[in-house]
Symmetry: C2
Subunit: 207 residues, 2 copies
């Protein structure tokens, strides 16, 4: 047997341990679950590990930020912005791509989106220029937009951002709406916070 | 703008959605956390996504099962089997590579390992020939082995396997030992099962 010039353990340190360290950086995985994931990957080398390596490399190479709406996709404009069956007169404004995905999975909105990339935050020093707000105003000014739906999180920062955007769009001929507050479907009164209960009571409707 | 010949959404379906589906197959990740992981990967394309793709491809190409002990490594024999500072006269028998890693992280054992690849199981139809037991007997017969430490799980199948291996090694000149049963360090009596308490009582020692 030829003596390997690497010191013992070096092969492992570069390969498997490095892979574990990288996987452990993913949200939802820590060092322990990354080790389990690597063992699983090694056991399923052909059916999982190699396809995953290829998919990661492919997406890393081809991913683009949509210059129209800020969505991520492998093409620019993204598949949503170039879909002619979607209503180009409706724009749903979201904080992050994950929110866009959540709304689109629900399958109830057939307009287009605009991703802000965050919310205004005095604490974190995030101002209007740090967000994708200027391009939204431009889209509304140029395009034939009937309605802008603000689907921002029901947090202080989210609502501050919603008010700011409403102000910026005020002079333009467009309806600005926001998602309703109220009871989540399946929610029990007992477990809901006072703010949600107050909002649901205030927005009560004829039954 | 040139019209892309792909139907709308096709780019996404191949790339990002395929990546999410593959990541969701890892233990500890489901569809929701896989989506979060992909967004994180996209945000950290250069610092995380590309290195992870490379590490996966590299490990998938170079991973080997050690022909001596059954460990996984990027070389064969593995780094542990070729480490001259480890005591070649001690073999610690474990069920799975994850057990080997757990023991080696603890850093208290400086001998070598033997990975069975599972336990005997009448229910699952796993017999001695399905496990890495024959090669263990060969290692003990050929080599200068003083002691075989059975570090199998304290389950019915684990202990059945331990008894079987003890039988197989009975005719050879080697000590066969097993990990002690007892209280886990930091464990509270109140929370322990009766079996552990009985084992700890039976194996009590002078204080």
């Amino acid at each position: 047997m030829a003596i390997n010039p690497l010191p013992p353990g070096a092969g492992t340190a570069i390969g498997i341990d490095g892979l574990i360290a990288l996987l452990a950086k993913l949200p939802g995985l820590g060092p322990r679950s990354a080790r389990r994931a690597v063992l699983q990957l090694i056991k399923k080398r052909e059916s999982l590990m190699q396809p995953l390596a290829r998919a990661l490399a492919e997406v890393a190479d081809s991913i683009r930020i949509c210059s129209t709406c800020g969505n991520v996709d492998v093409q620019d404009p993204c598949a949503i912005c170039r879909d002619p069956k979607r209503d180009a007169g409706l724009i749903c404004v979201v904080e992050d791509v994950s929110d866009l995905w959540a709304l689109d999975r629900a399958g109830l909105f057939r307009g287009r989106y605009h991703v802000l990339g965050g919310t205004l935050s005095a604490l974190d020093g995030i101002g209007p220029d740090d967000l994708n707000i200027g391009p939204l105003v431009d889209r509304v000014r140029k395009g034939d937009i009937r309605e802008v739906i603000l689907a921002l999180n029901a947090t202080v920062d989210g609502q501050t951002t919603a008010h700011y955007i409403t102000d910026r769009l005020g002079a333009l001929n467009v309806d600005v709406t926001a998602l309703a507050h109220g009871l989540p479907v399946g929610g029990e009164l007992d477990y809901l916070d006072d703010g949600t209960l107050a909002a649901a009571m205030k927005a009560r409707r004829k039954f």
